[in-house]
């Protein structure tokens, strides 16, 4: 039997927190104990041999005749100190002012001076010569004092602070990792994309929340698919009666009436197509291909110019983007159509920049007030002008379709002020080097 990692962990967040607190306390305790034991060891090592100060005090109190015996005994007892006594008059070798002996000098009895013969290191003893008050020189090897001694209280507080910080950080990370996975899963949720199921693991509370979110996402996806199917079916079913009407209208004797009927049917057809296009969300069943954007833009401009509209194009000869030619054509057509319809003309400009491929479509119309721009990009929203015009406008999907197409191509669409007036629609598409995100169809 294999044990799932973490199977022995408590299942609920509350028990996990309790376990964490206990574990932290235990850990702190263990660390402090180890610290204490290590300090004890240090103490013992420092007790190796009498302190030089004590030795000097001892030597000072004795009469000089017996001093030699005393030092000789001490030297035998502590051979590592290599004590030597030189008679009075001998000049101590070494630097009598060395600052490294400042601490020692403070503790020496008055009348004695200390000189450093050979400096030591962390592992190596230093050689110190002390001139006693009667001129005799006692030299010995001693371990240099450790650096500034650290207050044990401060050490404990520091260790505790570090431990608590690390443990707290770890605990917060461990406990909130599933929550962060939640957040990113909710952010990344696209009803048209593959549903990446949230892993149902972690504490019980998180597991049930993950289950609930997974169910909710499946329901939302099913709902949206249902809606798409419904619209597609409606669009498809409308095509048959429109076809019949279209055919019947051909037999209307009155020429004016026939033209009107055909115009209405064309509008209905265009509306149904725009609805279906919008329901596709700018997605295409086919893989993206390279598109000669210049050719697409000039084709749209030529078509509008042929119908007598004031449409101009300016830009380089060949600019390529990656995408779906028909959808891009539809988006640009919608925007140019809006421009000539509400702005009287369309100036289309194309530029390849570092930031991407920029398409500007500008008109001379009233423009769109800044506060209305976000709303205008929403589906089924029409501007003031469009509402007050005759019945030749559609569902108000033109801009929305252009936007979903541009977004599906990894680009952006912005409504800006034209110069000197009018509306400027700016599309920025990624350059060819940048891959287009793959948006799988439902």
């Amino acid at each position: 039997m294999t044990l799932r990692p973490g199977a022995l962990l408590p299942q609920r967040i509350s028990s996990q927190i309790a376990a964490l607190v206990v574990a932290s306390l235990l850990a702190i305790h263990v660390v402090l104990t180890i610290g204490f034991l290590l300090r004890q060891d240090d103490g013992r090592e420092r007790d190796d041999g009498p302190s030089l100060v004590a030795l000097v005090r001892l030597a000072e109190t004795r009469d000089p005749a017996r001093r030699a015996d005393l030092i000789a005994e001490a030297a035998r007892a502590f051979p590592r100190m290599q004590m030597r006594l030189a008679p009075a008059g001998a000049e101590p070798a070494g630097d009598a002012d060395d600052p490294r002996l400042e601490g020692l000098r403070r503790h020496l009895p008055p009348g004695t001076t200390a000189a450093l013969v050979a400096p030591g290191g962390p592992e190596r003893p230093e050689r110190v010569a002390v001139r006693l008050s009667d001129g005799a020189v006692l030299s010995a090897s001693v371990m240099p004092p450790p650096g500034r001694p650290i207050d044990p209280v401060i050490v404990s507080i520091l260790v505790l602070a570090i431990l608590i910080t690390v443990l707290g950080w770890w605990a917060a990370r461990a406990l909130t990792r599933p929550l962060r996975a939640f957040v990113s899963a909710a952010e990344a949720f696209r009803p048209d994309g593959e549903i990446m199921l949230l892993p149902e693991r972690g504490p019980e509370e998180i597991r049930s929340a993950a289950r609930a979110l997974n169910h909710m996402r499946a329901r939302v996806k099913a709902m949206l698919e249902e809606r798409s199917r419904m619209f597609a079916a409606v669009g498809h079913d409308l095509r048959t009666p429109i076809t019949r009407l279209r055919l019947r209208s051909e037999f209307i004797e009155d020429e004016g009436l026939r033209a009107q009927a055909l115009a209405d049917l064309d509008q209905m057809r265009a509306m149904v197509e725009s609805l279906l296009m919008f329901m596709r969300d700018g997605r295409s069943a086919r893989a993206p291909v390279m598109v000669d954007l210049t050719a697409s833009l000039t084709t749209v401009c030529d078509q509008f110019a042929d119908l007598g509209h004031d449409v101009s194009y300016a830009g380089p000869d060949h600019v390529a983007v990656r995408g779906h030619p028909d959808e891009l054509h539809r988006a640009v057509t919608n925007l140019v159509d809006n421009a000539v319809r509400y702005g009287g003309c369309a100036r289309v400009r194309l530029a390849a920049t570092v930031a991407g491929v920029v398409i500007d479509i500008e008109d001379d119309g009233p423009g769109i007030p800044e506060r209305d721009r976000t709303a205008m990009l929403r589906p089924f929203v029409r501007g003031e002008t469009a509402r007050s015009m005759d019945g030749t406008t559609g569902f108000g999907l033109g801009l929305s379709i252009a936007q979903v197409v541009v977004t599906a191509h990894g680009g952006t669409l912005a409504l800006l002020d034209g110069v000197p007036r009018g509306l400027l629609v700016r599309i920025v598409l990624p350059s060819v080097a940048t891959p287009v995100p793959v948006t799988p169809k439902i």
Binding site: T243, R244, V289, A295, D302
Partner: protein, 239 residues
């Protein structure tokens, strides 16, 4: 064509087939109707049919399957009608051997124009011996997909063209190295995009040059002939 063409409309919506029949008859065609595959077979056996207009969504055997069957047994031209209007349907339909494709709702005048264009092609022997017209033509790395009316540049990029521009390029490709006058080009391009608002041949040529020539001011692919016409210089291979 000496006598009026006999067209079979296979469509399950009776109102639509009745109206299509009426429109085509008014425009000098003989029309038979079939509501499904079995009726289609009966009519095909009983009389000589010049062209089949085939709806894709039929009760019983569907249009695609009928199209494949028609293609296997004869070389009768087929125009597909579909209400689905998806590009995929168009591709599949043309793969199945249909000569043209029209999405619903369609303009009956456009249907008539396409019927005439397909009949003209099959009469003039433009159809290849296999009974099919070349689907794809290539020149200098450019690719012309006649079924889908798509133009692809040597880098594999899709190049947008209008129906008129495409028809003109197709006509030029079908007659490489030959000087074609404006009138000849006009004749060759009539049909497909009937009713569309198209410019003169000269305007279309200059638009095409802008799209396919390296330097539109010094054209290498479509050359102007001084005596009044154009010649398509590259070699064209068809498949």
């Amino acid at each position: 064509m000496t006598e009026s063409p006999h067209i079979l409309v296979v469509e399950d919506d009776q109102e639509i087939s009745r109206l299509v029949a009426r429109y085509l008859r008014a425009n000098d065609c003989r029309v038979s109707l079939a509501g499904n595959g079995r009726e289609m077979d009966r009519v095909m056996d009983a009389s000589r049919i010049d062209l089949v207009v085939l709806d894709l969504m039929l009760p019983g055997e569907d249009g695609l399957s009928l199209c494949r069957r028609l293609r296997a047994g004869s070389s009768v031209p087929v125009i597909i009608l579909s209400a689905r209007g998806e590009e995929v349907d168009r591709i599949v339909g043309l793969e199945m051997g249909a000569d043209d494709y029209l999405g619903k709702p369609f303009n009956p005048r456009e249907l008539l124009a396409r019927v005439k264009a397909v009949l003209r092609r099959s009469d003039s022997g433009l159809r290849s011996p296999a009974g099919r017209r070349p689907r794809v033509m290539t020149f200098l790395g450019w690719r012309l997909d006649c079924g889908l009316a798509k133009l692809t540049n040597p880098e594999g990029g899709a190049v947008a063209v209008t129906g008129g521009e495409f028809d003109l390029l197709q006509a030029l490709c079908e007659h490489p190295g030959r000087v074609l006058s404006r009138d000849q080009l006009l004749d060759l391009t009539q049909g497909r995009s009937a009713g569309a608002f198209e410019r003169s041949i000269d305007v279309l040529i200059s638009r095409l040059r802008r799209k396919i020539e390296a330097d539109p001011h010094h054209p290498e692919i479509i050359r102007t002939v001084r005596s009044g016409g154009y010649v398509f210089t590259p070699e064209v291979s068809a498949s």
